[in-house]
Symmetry: C2
């Protein structure tokens, strides 16, 4: 079993697939329309579309022989939730660094034991 985030992030890791998503950001498109800009065989594009679908990033409807794709409404929900956690940590770290710099500015001599944070360049 593979975590949904695994599928989502590795789907996003491929430039062709990101280009497909960017194209779909402009609106619904059939497989052939999606394939057109690429110097790549149709089966290769179909495969990418399958990967994007399995990852929950896009959905396909059936319209006769065509299978138009569009972005899935909640495509990025899980990804966003996970990244929000990291982002929050980053801003927390930034505040901490801010505090550290303030401390260094006020008192020039810090005791050099404790969790070493030396040469933090």
């Amino acid at each position: 079993m593979q975590h949904g985030l695994d599928a989502a992030f590795s789907a996003l890791a491929d430039p062709t697939r990101r280009a497909i998503l960017a194209r779909l950001a402009l609106g619904e498109a059939t497989v052939m329309q999606l394939a057109e800009p690429f110097a790549m065989s149709q089966p290769a594009i179909s495969r990418h579309i399958k990967v994007l679908g399995d990852a929950g990033l896009i959905i396909q409807r059936v319209a006769g022989a065509k299978r138009p794709c569009r972005l899935a409404a909640h495509a990025l929900d899980d990804v966003d939730r996970w990244l929000a956690m990291l982002r929050e940590a980053l801003s927390r770290n930034y505040e901490r660094l801010d505090g550290l710099l303030a401390a260094m500015e006020s008192e020039n001599e810090t005791d050099s034991r404790g969790k070493d944070l030396t040469c933090a360049r």
Copy 2:
């Protein structure tokens, strides 16, 4: 040459690496500290750390024999920028659907030419 987004997203695609990032969200940690929770060899962890570093998600400083890691300040900048584009498209699509539903509610008969949007289940 590989796009930075390729590296970032495929770094994020691995659950071990995401766990490492989650751990680093709590603060700086050495390689051994990062390896500790995992039933995995130390070289495997070193490799994951290298991938995260190459993707610009973490940085390492040298402290004697140790190489403490922390989250890179601008780790998610590119990823965020790219995802923001998609998110914007998604909300635009949502608004469009909203408009469509409103239109369907007011007038029941739509001309059936144009970008087919039939049987959109």
